[in-house]
């Protein structure tokens, strides 16, 4: 059976699109500048207030998934403190290792674990940050967004953050795309 031109175009388009999606995961890791992401994470620490119970001991950032952000966060931890607390970066492979981390960073490749992450951190003073766009809709506190001109921004779910007993400054809200 001879396929029409449009059928062939549609098949080519479908294959190209699927290839794009397949490649997009790996490419993302190559091209992102995670220094910028880590700068934002530091500013989240500055402009969000954790409850008193989290202000003692180490300030733990748990990163789930294999992401270059871990290296950048370690550079951050080596030079900065979180309101006087020493910052510790833990690269975890299972959400059972989250413990009482102040921040849980879900790398792009582990976005499908958002539901489980929210269950593990329920009622805990933990800020859940998603690397992939759209995770605030699923309950994360913050996720990153890249605009058309490659400017890095973030979306913020005020309600979700406050449910974790965290207080956000108006400065941070003014920078964010707020999901109501």
């Amino acid at each position: 059976m001879k396929m029409s031109f449009y059928t062939r175009v549609m098949i080519c388009a479908g294959i190209s699109w699927m290839m794009s999606l397949c490649f997009s995961g790996t490419l993302q890791a190559q091209d992102r500048d995670y220094k910028a992401y880590s700068i934002y994470v530091y500013n989240f620490i500055k402009y969000i207030e954790w409850p008193q119970s989290s202000k003692t001991g180490e300030f733990v950032i748990a990163v789930i998934g294999d992401s270059p952000i871990t290296k950048e966060l370690r550079t951050l931890a080596a030079s900065k403190k979180a309101n006087g607390q020493t910052i510790v970066i833990r690269n975890i492979v299972s959400l059972s290792e989250v413990g009482t981390a102040q921040i849980l960073y879900i790398s792009s490749g582990k976005s499908n674990m958002i539901k489980e992450a929210l269950e593990k951190t329920k009622n805990l003073p933990t800020l859940v940050i998603g690397e992939r766009e759209g995770l605030v809709k699923k309950g994360a506190g913050i996720n990153f967004v890249t605009l058309d001109d490659d400017t890095l921004k973030f979306e913020l779910n005020k309600k979700a953050i406050e449910e974790h007993n965290l207080h956000i400054s108006s400065t941070l809200i003014s920078l964010a795309f707020v999901d109501k």
């Binding site: 794009s20 890095l152 920078l175």
Partner: protein, 702 residues
């Protein structure tokens, strides 16, 4: 044996072009290696004075880039383009197949006029119409009469009587900031002149000029000058006020060769092929208000007539454009833009002589447009609006009338349009449509859908659009008894692009164009009069490949375009009898190579070349008086331009040679009207002097 290898000369041309293409691809790994050295220097805050990146201000934080410092290429391919959608999107996500040409590329290439610039773009070519006028073709299709819209600072340059735009030493390239080209349909946004493409020229505004700029270009062929043009710009931005004024004028020659018609007549184009432009462009904006005034004069001298050589005569094209618009920002999310335009034209004006009648018609267009743009959120934009225009034409020749013995005609066109742009994580969806209703030829509805997305290095576009060509005033006037309807086109396009390195990108697209009810010119054998009618269907399909490398040492732009008319409907007037896969005038294969190398900070060398495969043209008449189509051999055009910036402060000097090998350049008539191929410029030496005096900035002094 390939037709390309028929003669040793053609063989040489092909080898030359292949050699140059080889240079491009050899440069590919070179650029990759270069990239390895600089890839790590992508610190997003490298320009920050302090090393403590984390303590940046809120303002600095807001400017952080997700991908670090963009390479020069990334800045180019990710720059926002407005021509393809009401809301600007990056070139890689824009819902059309688009080309962007920057001021830097225009300056470095030494482009003599707009034709040189547009020749860099895949799928674009030129052919001769009549009376020495050269028009544009797109993707193998003749698009001269109302099928490609040319916008100069938002003003529609196409003349309203026939819809044409005239090329050749026309429109000053020195004043151009950037050109955005849609190589596909644009009717869903722009209406009835944008069936096959849109060329959007944006000139420098007051902030860009920031002072006074002068430019002079002289081109010399072997026997006569090719052009002598001058250009002046002045502009300044003071607070919210942005003002610019640009003026240019000149004289040129189409060619210095002898034109020979199909009947044995000839004339020397070194004497009678003047191309004399003059242009005044004034722009002013203050806060949300902006206004534009343009006057454009273009005089073309020729002696080739419609097909037979006659006494030399002039065709004059005069246009005046005025526009005023205001962006009312009702709320943060809603902008309402009322716009009014006035366009006054006297195109194709000829005095007439013993062998031909005079032509003198004045036409005015009054346009009102109201558009609404609503950003529901960051991911959803809705634009809609309406447009009304009234065309009024008057025949000023005593013995000449419009149909029904009218000296004046008036037409009304009403249109509504809408577009929704929704951005999802996996795809951007653009849905749009425009509905036009004309009081004579009726309505046209042209929807479009586009799916686009950029996934870092890969991008993807799947587009389907309907478009139409609005019958012009003379189409209506010269229609035959069958009546006149809009020509309708549907276009499917698929583009995939891959950023090979931070400094190079490869893009491939395929397209399929089908036009139904094509508006075709013919001479009525019974009356001997010119006439237009809706003929059958035609179209083309093909592919375009682009490869760009851009780095601190310069850039290489290579593109290849291919079309075939095989499997498409045939219109006898456009057909090549001996080759059903090709259309008259336009080569099936075209390669462009545009390069520029920064030898020093101020000195650039820019070689460029174009290869065209065989073309077909009417070149003789048989014993029965019928035209005979023959194959013209492939052609190879090579150019070189050297440019030195700031020889003394503000003074740039450029020298170059176009058509180095003195290849015979001929514009072929893309339809059967028995006009012989029109010679173009031969080898041309060009000198360009530019001087810019910038106003002093108080802050800089302090």
């Amino acid at each position: 044996m390939s037709p390309l290898l028929h003669t040793s000369m053609q063989h040489t041309r092909l080898l030359l072009s292949m050699l140059l293409c080889g240079v491009v691809f050899l440069a590919c790994p070179f650029s990759s290696f270069a990239q390895q050295d600089t890839l790590h220097v992508t610190d997003p805050v490298a320009q920050k004075d302090t090393l403590d990146y984390y303590e940046m201000s809120i303002e600095q934080l807001q400017k952080l880039k997700a991908v670090g410092v963009s390479s020069e290429l990334e800045k180019l391919i990710n720059s926002l383009i407005g021509v393809a959608s009401k809301k600007p999107l990056s070139g890689r996500e824009s819902p059309s197949i688009v080309s962007l040409i920057t001021q830097e590329e225009i300056k470095n290439s030494g482009a003599r006029d707009l034709m040189d610039v547009l020749n860099m773009i895949p799928g674009v070519d030129f052919g001769v119409d009549v009376e020495g006028i050269v028009g544009i073709g797109m993707r193998g299709n003749w698009a001269h009469e109302g099928k490609v819209l040319l916008l100069l600072d938002g003003q529609e340059m196409n003349e309203i009587l026939f819809g044409t735009t005239q090329f050749g030493n026309h429109f000053p390239v020195e004043q151009i900031k950037r050109i955005e080209v849609i190589r596909g349909p644009g009717s869903a946004i722009y209406g009835g002149y944008a069936e096959y493409g849109v060329i959007n020229i944006i000139t420098r505004d007051g902030e860009d000029i920031d002072g006074i700029a002068l430019s002079g270009t002289y081109g010399q062929m072997q026997h006569t000058y090719a052009r002598r043009n001058v250009s002046l710009s002045a502009g300044k931005k003071i607070g919210a006020l942005n003002f610019s004024l640009a003026a240019s004028m000149g004289e040129g020659r189409r060619s210095e060769k002898v034109f020979e018609d199909l009947y044995g007549g000839s004339y020397n184009m070194a004497e009678y092929s003047s191309l004399n432009p003059a242009n005044l462009n004034v722009g002013l904006s203050y806060k949300n208000f902006s206004t534009r005034f343009i006057m454009d004069e273009y005089a073309v001298q020729s002696a080739d007539g419609y097909d037979q050589v006659k006494l030399p005569y002039w065709d004059r094209f005069s246009s005046t454009f005025c526009e005023m618009k205001y962006n009312f920002k009702i709320r943060e999310k809603l902008t309402i833009t009322p716009k009014i335009n006035y366009k006054h034209q006297i195109p194709w004006r000829t005095a007439g002589d013993s062998t031909s009648d005079p032509y003198y018609k004045i036409v005015d267009r009054y346009t009102g447009n109201l558009s609404f743009s609503y950003n529901y959120n960051r991911k959803l934009n809705i634009t809609f609006g309406g447009e009304v225009f009234n065309d009024r034409a008057e025949d000023r020749v005593d013995s000449s009338y419009y149909s029904d013995n009218q000296k004046k005609v008036s037409y009304l066109n009403e249109a509504v349009y809408a577009q929704a742009l929704a951005k999802f994580r996996l795809v951007n969806v653009i849905l749009g449509a425009r509905f036009d209703n004309h009081n004579v030829y009726g309505s046209s509805f042209v929807p479009r859908i586009g799916l686009t997305k950029k996934f870092n290095k890969l991008h993807f576009k799947l587009l389907y659009s309907n478009a139409f060509r609005a019958p012009t005033i003379e189409n209506i006037n010269l229609t035959d008894s069958t009546g006149m309807h809009p020509e309708r086109t549907s276009v499917a396009e698929l583009e995939v692009g891959y950023q090979l390195t931070r400094k190079s990108i490869l893009t491939l697209n395929v397209f399929d164009i089908t036009t139904k009810g094509a508006i075709v010119y013919y001479v009525d054998n019974m009356t001997g009069q010119d006439a237009y009618h809706n003929a059958g269907s035609n179209g083309s399909r093909g592919a375009e490949l682009e490869y760009k490398v851009k780095d601190h040492w310069g850039y290489i732009n290579f593109n290849y375009s291919f079309y075939t008319s095989a499997g498409k409907g045939k219109i006898a007037d456009y057909e090549v009898p001996q080759n059903s896969a090709m259309l008259l005038a336009f080569p099936a294969h075209k390669l462009n190579l545009n390069t520029s190398f920064y030898i020093t900070r101020h000195f650039t060398i820019s070689p460029s070349c174009t290869f065209q495969s065989d073309r077909y043209a009417y070149t003789a008449i048989d014993s029965l008086g019928n035209g005979v189509v023959t194959r013209l051999p492939s052609a190879f055009y090579a150019n070189l331009f050297l440019r030195y910036e700031n020889v003394v402060k503000g003074l740039d000097i450029g020298i170059g040679v176009y058509n180095i090998f003195d290849e015979q350049l001929r514009y072929i008539q893309p339809y059967n009207s028995l006009h012989a191929p029109l010679p173009g410029p031969s080898r041309e030496f060009v000198v360009r002097l530019s001087y810019a005096l910038h106003f002093k900035k108080k802050e800089a002094e302090e």
